[in-house]
Symmetry: C2
Subunit: 191 residues, 2 copies
């Protein structure tokens, strides 16, 4: 749809270089890596960077698309292999681990979960929300999850827990513990 004409070859090349440079830089310096520096690494001018990715957010998202999509696919795989409640729990765990361990991911997922009545439908947000919605509904039908909870709530709380674990210095053990606590609250009968 936004595909009026195939991208010019040089444009495409620069686009991919930027993506690669961005991934490196974000991994190295976190989500606040200098954009000018990313442009330099990619061997392009900063103008080019800003043309392809108007905002830092856009670049962040583009750099992590594959990872996000893997997460979406993972949800379906887990749904097939585990009981609904466990599939959800495990997926949230993996989500949280990613949130913490992949630098820059936190900002991305955070924005995906924001209120955003606005048309802020990022690709990332769509994929993640879709995945969690499937898992949540299944878990609720199986009686493993209270019914007065929206998928987005689960996502937000998981994000919050990831934040909490990060503050703790973030061993994966801590994440599991915290998610476990949250899980007991989410599974409890409503009232």
């Amino acid at each position: 749809m936004t595909q009026g004409r195939p991208m010019r070859a040089d444009a495409r090349r620069n686009y991919e270089r930027l993506l690669k440079a961005a991934a490196e830089a974000f991994a190295e310096h976190g989500e606040n890596a200098s954009l000018d520096d990313i442009a330099k690494r990619a061997g392009v001018g900063s103008g080019t960077l800003y043309r392809h990715f108007p905002t830092r957010q856009a670049l962040l998202e583009a750099a992590y698309v594959d990872r996000i999509e893997a997460l979406g696919a993972r949800a379906d795989k887990l749904a097939k292999e585990l009981a609904p409640g466990e599939a959800l729990a495990e997926w949230l765990y993996e989500l949280a681990v990613g949130t913490i361990q992949v630098r820059g991911m936190k900002a991305l997922l955070g924005s995906a979960v924001t209120d955003g009545g606005a048309a802020e439908l990022t690709a990332c947000g769509t994929v993640v929300k879709g995945a969690v919605a499937r898992l949540v509904v299944a878990a609720q039908e199986a009686g493993a999850l209270r019914k007065d909870i929206e998928p987005i709530d689960v996502l937000r709380l998981a994000h919050g827990v990831a934040t909490a674990a990060e503050l703790a210095g973030a061993g994966e053990k801590e994440i599991r513990r915290y998610l476990g606590l949250l899980g007991e609250g989410l599974g409890a009968a409503e009232g």
Copy 2:
């Protein structure tokens, strides 16, 4: 103790002006308000600001000391008036509300809860940790809180939940709901 000699009068005056200006600026522009601007508002040079408050964090903390101490006092009041479990819940609620509604507070509380094996014992951290420790121990003795939880865990999770609620657009209703869910997990028998 850090009181070798009383502050010179002009120094003290500038210190307080800066505090006032900082409170205004943080309220207005959030935790990232321009420090130079704060100096300007206070009618002092930026050098003066940096001498009194070497880091943004230091200024933030100084600007909110009274609020933090109020929170500490509030904990004791609640402990006297309510059952231990409820006192903790209510205090966490007020903490979370403050975290979200008072701009700049989130960064401050966040840093107070960080792993920080380092000697990062900020005044803010000490007060808040002390308050929550009292409430948590009381709640545990009353059987309202599982015993395999450390006070710091509670603090971190509450902070995480506040973050989650903030993403939701943060009505106080949402905070209560999320804290309630978490509370069920924290209260459940361990296992």
